[in-house]
Symmetry: C2
Subunit: 611 residues, 2 copies
């Protein structure tokens, strides 16, 4: 799509407003979009903050809110209108004050694990963007209810260290573009930056280091006074961190927290620490246990403005993981729950994988009140449709939605997105589309990771099957399949991982009678002839799930082709569905043959398996 | 090593001569190096060509030869002197007129499958070299007896298409640098170049295409009158070729041969054609059979100046392969036998892998008289020692040596190289070094590819173990291991591959009683409890070879550390030996565990295997 075509496409949504404040943005959005029979009156009421109150009278709709509260309220009205719902009195506050997108954008323009094109704001080792497109991004985020954008990769590659130094004027200009949309920036920083730039150490207890970071924070907040904070990945996958100086992660995080505190900044510290150089022979070490071992002893030690950001599962954004026990075991620490909209392991925005159900399950499992911030790795990129797959926007929409309502119904969220995105799609077709989306996670799971068999994915690229690809590697991700059995015994009788959970969960996962099927081989090592609750053998269940998941992916491709979507979206969705079906066939045959070669068990229905 | 240090290092060998002809070079080399009690008299006798005749009289040593024959004769004298052997009357002609190094150098300076640093002559998308170093390269090649250098990768990446076009002045200058060392250039060309540059087709039967190539060849030979010829990789691994136009490979090759014939050029055509997009489920297709199927019907169809260059085995430079049947089945075609000095699958110039034995075995198997040219992928690079591993120079030396004497004794060749390279190493230590080198191939084979189990190597990088890495891929490289058996039945009772061999070899390989152990699983599918000729089970032999090969690699590392080598060589050899031992342990444990998980068989000696 060239610039002219894009302009025409954007026109459908109106030009993005150029305004100075969120209130002005709210006014302009309503001017552009509100078609109600009554005018909307905006009344600023700072005490409401990001929240808003809607009151309907015969003469007018009155919207009260803090500055960005008015903006969110305006979007709520526009959304109701688009969904054809009547506007009623509402009092609304966001569930989480921080609804943070982590963008893994590098300054060279690449996006780590990005599947929607190159960075929207970096290219050629500098900021490089179309201001109108960034304003449109602001609208997109505001309409979804997202309020923090961390602009650079947690793996801080040079020259991104300069974002808190020589690039501050550009960061400031970028922040100003998004500020009218209620979006504040966050920056990923490199723990070792003092060492790399000025000092001979980055020891968090060294007074020179503390002074360096304080002085740095002063300069950063001078340039961007409403910066949300810093995000840090330390001592993880070869990133530098406090371990190099014999300090623990509370000491590391608190030092940075102290520097940003005077400015009201938060320090987000990722709890993604494990031994990524494990000897695969060593069955005594188990990666899922590692975060707990590092952080549990530090509960209560973190400063008030530290947020420990924990991935939902103990591994790394796999299709199916139990909730990370850390999220249940740190009552005296402020926690963020981290999701991944970027479909690294979940189909790379080629295969369909709708996340509302995952979000709800993880929030329910954590207990929405135990966490105080909501974060996700972004799935955005420079592609015309922002997301690579035209349906992948659902996941950003849902991420924002759960940041406001942790108890939202997943199918309702999906239906909203579909109605807002494809308003002209006939109702029966929209239901078909929603049906596909609602089942998409289960479909993908069955052909890639049934029974909790994760990590059978191609190393590095993380797309396509490779059952043994990670088996003899250093990443701590093993299934240990043999001719007799598969899986790892993580129960209290095994390596004790389940003991990291509260006792009722320990019991639930320990007991084969109660352990959920979808996590069976995550928690247990079982022989292929183990009889499941439904009477099937384990090996037959593996075969069935792969055959069924693949067959459904193939049917999905046909169904998508029959939808009356806008031409461009249809073409892209159809092409991706074709690739998904191909991917599913490969997963089906490779994983089934892999286990056939081990088990020697024929499929009960005589379907093909290959030696 | 900086430039000054390198100078000092080079001084030990004398400055490379700057001369205008091979005769002058011969004179200068003798002036520099000859310490005999009698003068050497050079007499040019063009009829001797590259050959030479040495006659010893009380007054003088008389050396007769064609221009480069005098140069080779001079090196023979210098070699005898260095080895402490007395000079006697010799009449010598090279066994093969073309002794060709194929350099996979890209113009960006990278070397495909290069393990000795970047390109010696390309960098930054242009020629870029130190003329003295290229002269030294000329000396190196002349002293080894190599006479053709193909300067660019057979995968012709832009801008290397320009080598037969806008880069011709630079090619000419580069040729002039090497000409005084008896080295002629060759160029890899892209079969589709007319299409890419000027025409709308590259169809070899289209008169415009034929004219294009004739005109191109005229220009090329005008710039480099002694160019040896063109080298082509066509219809292979996604390279363009005559298949795109429904033409066969004789039609493709002959068209190019016709263009280069008026200039005395040869057209070297690589017979490396197979389906690299095979469905792994398809056991009816077998990659080793493919070259025969493509080329056998074309025997006798190639023009006189076409040389069909055939890799030694039917796969791709694996540690152990049977001779390619094509080398025995094309009596009416001029054949080159292609080796690979670059240790792509054989340890990447980290692990020791001496090739003299391989060269001799392959020449013996082919019958030296059946082939008429001798080719190898180069192992050279910009590293100070040229080869990455200080001992890897042996393989270039041996390659040249077998180009002159196809029946040379491998241990003798190794001993010569060791004495010439490390003249100050005490005799007993030199014997230890030669012992290591002589066993190195067997050591590497036992821990990486015992019983013909090739392709258990990490995909793409081709270093380290990954037993299933290629198993579900499109490359046609499968072992099809299951809980019961491993290997592919390629006998006449199986997929019929052995029928491509002469009847006595078909019988040899078909029969388990006569099939060599080292190719057992290349030709047969066997259960793990199959009893080998020595009484061991197949699985125990797999275990033993891995344990033994690894143990020997570990001992090698200790032995190397004890040698009185020059400091720099010792440090490099010791570091590489340490990495080799580590690599060997990984291969041992991964492959053994892989088969343990399938077979369930314990090691007879109770050594560790891992689930």
């Amino acid at each position: 799509m060239n610039r002219q075509e894009r302009r025409a496409w954007l026109e459908g949504f109106g030009e993005p407003p150029v305004t100075g404040s969120a209130i002005e943005t709210a006014e302009q959005e309503l001017n552009l979009g509100w078609r109600g029979d009554r005018p909307v009156r905006l009344i600023r009421e700072d005490a409401l903050g990001e929240g808003y109150a809607i009151r309907v009278s015969p003469e007018a709709v009155t919207l009260r809110g803090g500055e960005s509260g008015l903006l969110y309220g305006a979007w709520e009205l526009l959304k109701k209108q688009a969904l054809g719902e009547s506007v009623t009195d509402i009092d609304c506050q966001p569930r989480y004050a921080l609804r943070m997108l982590n963008c893994w954008d590098n300054m060279d323009g690449s996006v780590e694990r990005g599947y929607a094109g190159r960075s929207l704001w970096f290219e050629g080792s500098r900021f490089s963007y179309d201001p109108d497109r960034i304003r449109f991004l602001g609208r997109l985020l505001a309409s979804c209810g997202v309020n923090v954008l961390c602009v650079n990769n947690v793996n801080v590659h040079e020259p991104a260290q300069g974002l808190i130094d020589e690039w501050l004027p550009e960061v400031s200009a970028f922040a100003a573009l998004l500020r009218p949309f209620g979006v504040r920036l966050m920056l990923s920083v490199d723990f070792s930056q003092p060492l790399r730039r000025d000092l001979e150490t980055a020891d968090p207890l060294d007074e020179r280091v503390r002074a360096w970071w304080r002085e740095r924070a002063d300069r950063v907040w001078e340039a961007v006074p409403d910066l949300a904070g810093f995000l840090v990945k330390a001592d993880s996958e070869n990133r530098p961190g406090p371990f190099a100086y014999g300090r623990d992660h509370a000491e590391g995080a608190n030092m940075l927290a102290e520097a940003v505190a005077p400015h009201g900044g938060v320090l987000v510290w990722r709890a993604f620490v494990y031994n990524c150089k494990q000897d695969w022979r060593d069955s005594g070490t188990d990666r899922p246990k590692s975060a707990w071992e590092t952080y549990k002893p530090l509960d209560g030690h973190f400063a008030d403005n530290v947020i420990l950001q924990v991935k939902y599962g103990p591994f790394d954004f796999q299709v199916r993981e139990p909730l990370s026990p850390l999220l249940l075991g740190m009552p005296d620490t402020r926690l963020a729950l981290e999701m991944q909209l970027a479909q690294e392991y979940t189909g790379q925005q080629i295969d369909l994988f709708a996340m509302p159900g995952l979000f709800r399950e993880m929030l329910d499992a954590a207990g929405p009140e135990r966490i105080m911030a909501w974060a996700a790795v972004s799935n955005l990129g420079r592609d015309e449709n922002w997301f690579g797959h035209p349906f992948a926007g659902l996941n950003l929409y849902a991420f924002g939605r759960y940041g406001w309502d942790a108890g939202a119904d997943p199918e309702r969220v999906t239906a909203e997105w579909a109605a807002l995105t494809y308003p002209r799609l006939p109702q029966n077709q929209r239901e078909i589309l929603c049906g596909l989306l609602n089942r998409s996670r289960s479909v993908y799971e069955r052909y890639t990771a049934t029974l909790g068999l994760c990590w059978m994915i191609t190393p590095n690229t993380h797309y396509g099957p490779s059952p043994d690809g990670y088996e003899y590697q250093a990443w701590g991700t093993y299934h240990r399949a043999s001719r007799d059995a598969v899986g790892i015994d993580r129960t209290s009788r095994g390596n004790g991982y389940t003991l990291q959970y509260p006792p009722e969960l320990t019991r639930l996962y320990d007991d084969l009678a109660t352990c959920p099927d979808e996590l069976l081989l995550f928690f247990h090592r079982l022989p292929y002839d183990y009889v499941m609750r439904d009477g099937r053998t384990l090996i037959q269940r593996i075969y069935d799930d792969h055959f069924d998941g693949c067959a459904e992916a193939e049917r999905m491709a046909e169904t998508i082709a029959s939808l009356s979507l806008p031409e461009k979206d249809l073409a892209e969705a159809v092409e991706r569905a074709r690739l998904q079906a191909q991917n599913a066939r490969e997963w089906r045959d490779v994983v089934n043959s892999f286990f056939y070669r081990f088990s020697g068990a024929e499929d009960a229905h005589g379907r093909p398996l290959y030696i």
